[in-house]
């Protein structure tokens, strides 16, 4: 009998406590963010979409090896010896003519392993995340440009000792987009 009573009393007491809590939450502010109108800004490090600055790419293929899902494809061949020397933004000379640099974002697993080994930091992840498309083909990004304006003067030599990005921690350049 007593066990029946304590069961009954516990049942009522805990139900009332529970109801008090849900009642209290009726008056606290809701946390929903109504997406298309209210929008939250992603922190700068968030890894959303890959972008590659074609002018700085020296075609080394480090990112192709680092990618665990093999979704970066490069085709580059040697620049003819007599062509004008060109440099990347941070002063490394570009010896290869990158014919094709494609990233298949539909395969990419957004792990950001490819941006670290890149010597000229031309490949980095931007915070742009609303690139859903109806056709998978539109996720296949082709970064190779035919009309690229390469730097014909060595920026390192011209501006004296340009502080090259510290080799250790890969500070990601702030994204223009």
């Amino acid at each position: 009998m007593s066990e029946w009573l304590t069961d009954l009393w516990d049942g009522i007491r805990t139900t009332l406590i529970g109801m008090r809590i849900t009642w209290r939450h009726l008056f606290t502010r809701s946390v929903t963010l109504q997406y298309p109108t209210e929008r939250w800004t992603l922190p700068p490090r968030s890894r959303m979409r890959l972008f590659m600055k074609y002018e700085d790419c020296i075609g080394c293929g480090q990112c192709v090896r680092a990618c665990p899902v093999h979704c970066i494809y490069i085709k580059a061949d040697r620049r003819p010896a007599d062509a004008a020397p060109i440099w990347a933004a941070d002063g490394t000379p570009i010896k290869l003519d990158v014919k094709l640099f494609d990233i298949d974002m539909s395969l990419c697993c957004y792990c950001n392993l490819c941006t670290y080994p890149c010597p000229t930091h031309c490949l980095y992840m931007t915070t742009e995340h609303e690139f859903a498309t109806e056709d998978l083909g539109k996720h296949y990004y082709r970064f190779a440009k035919t009309d690229a304006q390469f730097l014909t003067t060595n920026p390192k030599a011209a501006a004296g000792a340009v502080a090259v990005a510290a080799p250790g921690a890969p500070q990601k350049p702030e994204v223009a987009g």
Binding site: T14, I17, G18, R45, S46, C109, N112, L113, A169
Partner: protein
């Protein structure tokens, strides 16, 4: 409750004559409460489950075959996708295994960051575990309250590592990014609000609730010997009273320097080892993790900040050999058995012993004689994630 078939027949017939024929009920791959893609083949007589046979493999993504075709750092994004609810723990386990193989000792600052991140991930993972368990019982509100607070942890993770669920944060020999400045203050705000409001509310609203207690406190009782024999680990074993926790007994990453209690089931509302106890241990562990994170934050402020990728080798090529390293993931002991042949860049063999795999192994033992509603409670209390079971 004597099951109907044992009742005596009277009138001289045997009880078998009254036996109703059994029904095979498929709690199929798409079922709202199987925590993922799991098929349970239940032989039921009315509501009572006579025999249960789990079928897994629906989410098998050949992790171990992938691990043989990718280089050592490339495996980390794959380990994140094992137990996708607590992916910080998986990559930490794999990274420590390879570091032990290569003999790398990471700087104390990085170790503290790893402990901080692992414990935050434990709070987030237990929040999902307890929340979905409440939802299986029908209480929908605690689940959303816990998810609301889990979002705050995910914001912290996104702020540091860049991703909200699959972080690829723990690397072999270090972490991918240093903590952003202002992280400590935001983390402390979260901890204060969690300890002051969310945790007590969860205790009152769900765990203290009499209906929840009645639904879970007498079923699925798992004695310790059966737990050890079937290799249950983590909260599933500690719910049965064992106080074995890898963070205390085989400390890694400097866990021995933090003071926290190992919580185990005390049998408050029913026999020790019942479904309630396992869930109760998870609730207590969330509070313990908050303490650890606080200590880690205090240490980080006093410690000198060494660069986080100092010990990251340019090319990870461990010497020939093999190692089996266990870490205390939120769901139990997550073991990585890494075999290196010393020649190639890719690991020769990576075997993951996932805690949910063995937890599911004991399911058919506990499920006999249960009602269907209890089968759902049992799955919820074992807190399984199918990504880790099927690998």
């Amino acid at each position: 409750m004597a099951s109907p078939t044992q009742a005596t027949g009277g009138f001289g017939w045997q009880i078998e004559d009254l036996d109703t024929d059994e029904m095979i009920l498929n709690m199929g791959p798409q079922h709202p409460s199987t925590h993922g893609v799991l098929r349970l083949e239940l032989r039921t007589d009315g509501e009572v489950v006579k025999a249960a046979r789990p079928h897994i493999g629906y989410l098998h993504r050949c992790f171990e075959k992938h691990a043989e075709n990718v280089d050592y750092p490339g495996v980390i994004p794959y380990t994140d996708r094992l137990d996708y609810v607590a992916s910080m723990g998986n990559s930490l386990g794999y990274a420590l295994a390879v570091e032990k193989l290569m003999g790398i000792e990471v700087a104390p600052y990085v170790q503290t960051i790893r402990v901080l991140m692992a414990e935050l991930q434990r709070i987030a993972s237990h929040a999902v575990a307890i929340g979905t368990y409440g939802m299986d019982m029908g209480a929908f509100t605690p689940f959303l309250h816990l998810l609301r607070d889990r979002e705050k942890i995910l914001d912290l993770f996104e702020w540091t590592s860049g991703a909200r669920l699959l972080y690829n944060y723990n690397w072999i020999g270090g972490v991918s990014y240093d903590l952003p400045d202002g992280f400590a203050r935001a983390c402390r705000d979260f901890l204060d609000e969690f300890e002051r409001i969310t945790h007590p509310e969860l205790m009152d609203l769900l765990i203290g609730n009499k209906i929840f207690v009645k639904r879970t406190a007498e079923i699925g009782v798992l004695p310790i010997e059966v737990g050890i024999a079937y290799d249950l680990t983590g909260p599933n074993l500690r719910g049965s009273g064992a106080s074995y926790d890898l963070r205390k007994d085989e400390p890694y990453c400097g866990y021995e320097t933090y003071d926290f209690q190992v919580c185990s089931g005390q049998g408050r509302y029913g026999p020790v080892g019942s479904c309630f106890e396992r869930n109760w241990v998870r609730a207590l562990e969330m509070a313990e993790s908050v303490k650890i994170v606080r200590q880690a934050l205090d240490r980080i402020e006093k410690m000198e900040h060494t660069p986080v990728q100092e010990k990251c080798p340019k090319r990870v090529k461990p010497p020939k050999g093999e190692v089996y390293f266990r870490t205390e993931a939120p769901r139990g002991q997550l073991g990585f058995y890494v075999v290196a042949d010393g020649a190639g860049v890719n690991p020769y063999r990576v075997r993951v012993k996932s805690p949910c795999f063995t937890a599911m192994g004991v399911f058919h033992v506990l499920a006999k004689g249960m009602l269907i509603a209890d089968v759902v409670a049992l799955i919820g209390s074992l807190d399984i994630v199918l990504g880790e079971i099927d690998r």
